[in-house]
Symmetry: C2
Subunit: 392 residues, 2 copies
C-alpha cells in the first residue's frame, strides 16, 4: 500500500514542496487515498484534498436524475480544472471499476449521456498545466470482478498482480519507472522519425487503416509540465501513442479484450470506420452502451488516439483482464474514441486535424496475432510491430 | 434510517422539484447520505452531490500541512456557497463528532487556526439564499463517544435516542416538526414583543448579562428562503435565539455541558466577558483549543448568538451529552461566539451591532438551575426562564 502511494506521489505526479494536490478516489479506496495524502505531506505538499466519489450515489443519479441533469457538470466541479491550472496543482486519480453488477440495471443510454470526463479537464491536461498521475486503487469489488469467487483472497491476489505490473518488487521502483519511461520515449522518437502517413492493423476480425497527421509526434513515458516538472502520468505505462487524423480511419476492427464503459461490460466489440467515423458498432455484450458513448458529442465517434504496446511490458505478461483501462490499455495496442492531444501536432494545421470531444474511451485492438505495418509519406511499407516485437 | 432521510429532505431542507442538492457527510455516514440522495430524487431533485470529508485526511492535514495552509480555503470550495446561492440550491449536512481520540494528539493551536466554517457560507445562510438543514449522522465512533464500551450495541442505542429527539416515532414526524416549529416561532415573537434591552443568566458559576440590540427579532423554528421556501434548518430544533449586541456582554459564565471544538473535548469551561469580549478563558480540560478558537479572527471573541431552550424539549429530556452541537445546543440555553445573524436586526444601525466572524461556536450555559431574567428598554425586570419554564 505505502509503496504504491509513494510511487504515485514521488514518480507519478512528482509532487513538489508547496504544491496543492487533489486526490480523486472512490469509496472503498480510502486506505490508499490516505496513504497518498500522507506521502504528499512527506514531499512538503501545501494542502491535500481527497475527493471521494460514492458509486451508490452515482448509481442513484444514473437511475433517477432528470435527463437534462445527466450531461450537466455542477459549476464548482467545472471550474476546478482551470483553478488547479492557475495554482499549478497536482492531481492523483485512483482507477478501478465499480462493484460488480452495480450498474447492470441502469439504462445504457443514460450512462452514455452522463459526463464521465470533462472538456475543461482535458484542456488543462492537454496544455500540461498540472502534474498528474493515475494509479490503480484496488477494492474488494474490483478483486471479485477480476478473480471471481474461486480465489480464496481475491483482494490479496489483485494487490500481488498490481505490485508486479507496477514494478513495486524492484529494489527501487521509482528508478525502474524513470528508466522504463526513458525507453518508451526512445521508441516514440523512432516512430516520430519514421515519418509514417498511416498504420494498418491486421489480425483476426481486424483490418483497419488509421491515417496519421504530417509531423505529429509520438509520445511515450513521462511528461513535462509547462513549468518544467517531469512526471509519469500513468502508472503502469507501457504504451507509445499519437493522435491520428480525425478524418482518416477506414476498415473494421475487433477488440481483443473486453472493456468497461461507465461500469458496463462491453465484450466482443466490433467497429467499422469510414471517413474517420465509427459508422457501425456491434458486440456480443454491451453494444448499446458503446453506441450511446459515440453519440455523446460530435467528436465522440472519431479517433483521438492510437497507441502501440509491444510484448515486453509487464501488463500483457500478467495474463489477466483487469477490467480497468489504465491497466488493460497497457497490455495491448489500442485506439481511443474521443479527445486527442493537440500538443503532439507539429503546427496549427496539424492541431486542427486532432479530434476534440468530452469523451476519451480506449479499447484494445492489439495482441500477438495482430500485426501492425506502416506506410511512410514517401510510400514505403515498413513493419512496425510483428508478433509483439518492434520492427523499427 | 430512511425516516431520518425523509425528514431531512422533506421537512429540513424542504427540497423542491428541480433543485440541486449538496449533501455534506463524513466517511462512516455513507448509508444515511445515500438514503438522503434517494429521498432527494423522490422529491424530484435535479442533481444530488454528496461531498465526503475523510476525518483521517483531515487529521493528516492538521498534523502536517504548512501553517499558512491551515487558514486557507481552496478556491472551488470558497466559491461554492455563492454558486449554490445563484442556483437556489439546497444543502443538507450530517452532524456528529469524529471518532473518539482521533484528534487528541493534534496541537490545539493548529486545530484552532484551521477553517472549519466559511465566511462565504455564513453570508449565504444569513441572506437565506439556499434552503438547508443539518441532521444527526450516527457513526460507530460517535456511538462509542456517547455510550462508552458498556453498551452492547452502542450504534443501535444512539439511533434509538436520535429517533426519540427527532420525533421519528410520531405517526407523522413531518407534521410534528412543522407544529413544533410554529410553537417555537410563537415563543420567539413573544420575546421580540417584550422589547428586552438585556438578559441576565444566574446559576452556579454564572452571572452574565448580555446586551440586546434595539428592535432585533428573536427567531425559532423554521426559516423562509428569499424566494419563499419554508424549511427547518436544524433537526432537532428546540431553541429560540437572537443576535446580541457585539459590544455588550459582562460577567462570568460556566458551561453546563462539555463541548467539542474541532474534535477536541472542552470540559468545565469558564469564560469572563468584559465590553462584549471574552477576556478570560479557563477549563478543566481543553482550555487551549478554546483560547485558540477565540483568536481565530477579530470577531471570534465576541457573541453572535444568545439562545433560550425551555425544559419541554426532547433533547434535554433524553438526559445525554451527545458531544454534538446540533443536539446539545437544543438541550439547554446557550451562547455562541462568532458570527451572528444580521437578518434579525431591525435596521442597518442594528445590523452594524451584530457580530461578524468566520467562527460560530455554541456552548451550553443553561439548565434547570440557571434562571434567566430580562430588563426591558423601559427599565422593568421580567422573568424569562425560571426553573426551565417560560416566564412570558
Amino acid at each position: 500500500m505505502s509503496a504504491l502511494a509513494r510511487l504515485a506521489v514521488d514518480t507519478g505526479a512528482n509532487v513538489a514542496p508547496g504544491q496543492t494536490v487533489v486526490v480523486s478516489a472512490k469509496l472503498g479506496q480510502e486506505e490508499l487515498a490516505r496513504a497518498i495524502a500522507a506521502a504528499c505531506y512527506d514531499r512538503g505538499a501545501h494542502q491535500v484534498e481527497v475527493d471521494y466519489l460514492d458509486p451508490y450515489v452515482q448509481r442513484e443519479r444514473l437511475l433517477r436524475a432528470a435527463d437534462e441533469a445527466l450531461g450537466e457538470v455542477i459549476p464548482w466541479v467545472r471550474e476546478r480544472p482551470g483553478q488547479m491550472a492557475e495554482m499549478r496543482a497536482s492531481w492523483i486519480g485512483l482507477s478501478g471499476p465499480p462493484a460488480p453488477g452495480l450498474l447492470d440495471d441502469v439504462d445504457p443510454g443514460r450512462i452514455g449521456r452522463d459526463r464521465s470526463a470533462l472538456v475543461e479537464w482535458a484542456r488543462v491536461v492537454d496544455r500540461r498545466e498540472v502534474t498528474w498521475a493515475i494509479v490503480p486503487g484496488p477494492t474488494p469489488g474490483w478483486a471479485r470482478t477480476v478473480f471471481g469467487d474461486d480465489e480464496p483472497d481475491p483482494l490479496a491476489a489483485l494487490w500481488e498482480k498490481l505490485a508486479g505490473v507496477c514494478r513495486l518488487h524492484e529494489a527501487d521502483p521509482a528508478a525502474a519507472w524513470w528508466r522504463r519511461s526513458t525507453e518508451l520515449s526512445g521508441t516514440a522518437d523512432r516512430l516520430t522519425e519514421a515519418g509514417l502517413d498511416s498504420l494498418r492493423f491486421r489480425g483476426p476480425g481486424t483490418d483497419l487503416t488509421v491515417g496519421l497527421i504530417a509531423g505529429a509526434r509520438w509520445h511515450g513515458g513521462g511528461l513535462t509540465s509547462v513549468w518544467g516538472r517531469d512526471h509519469v502520468p500513468n502508472l503502469p505505462t507501457e504504451e507509445v501513442f499519437t493522435s491520428p487524423d480525425r478524418e482518416r480511419a477506414e476498415g473494421t476492427v475487433a477488440a481483443t479484450k473486453p472493456l468497461l464503459v461507465s461500469g458496463r461490460k462491453v465484450e466482443g466489440l466490433r467497429v467499422r470506420f469510414a471517413g474517420g467515423r465509427a459508422v457501425e458498432v456491434d458486440a456480443d455484450e454491451g453494444a448499446g452502451v458503446f453506441r450511446e458513448l459515440i453519440r455523446r458529442d460530435p467528436g465522440a465517434d472519431r479517433l483521438g488516439e492510437v497507441a502501440l504496446v509491444d510484448g515486453s511490458g509487464r501488463v500483457g505478461a500478467a495474463g489477466l483482464v483487469f477490467h480497468d483501462t489504465l491497466l488493460d490499455e497497457n497490455a495491448a495496442s489500442h485506439i481511443a474514441l474521443g479527445s486527442g492531444f493537440t500538443d503532439l501536432a507539429a503546427d496549427e494545421a496539424g492541431a486542427a486535424r486532432v479530434n476534440s470531444s468530452g469523451v476519451h474511451e480506449d479499447f484494445m485492438i492489439g495482441g500477438p496475432e495482430v500485426d501492425v505495418t506502416g506506410t511512410t509519406r514517401d510510400g514505403r511499407e515498413v513493419a512496425v510491430l510483428v508478433g509483439g516485437r518492434w520492427g523499427l
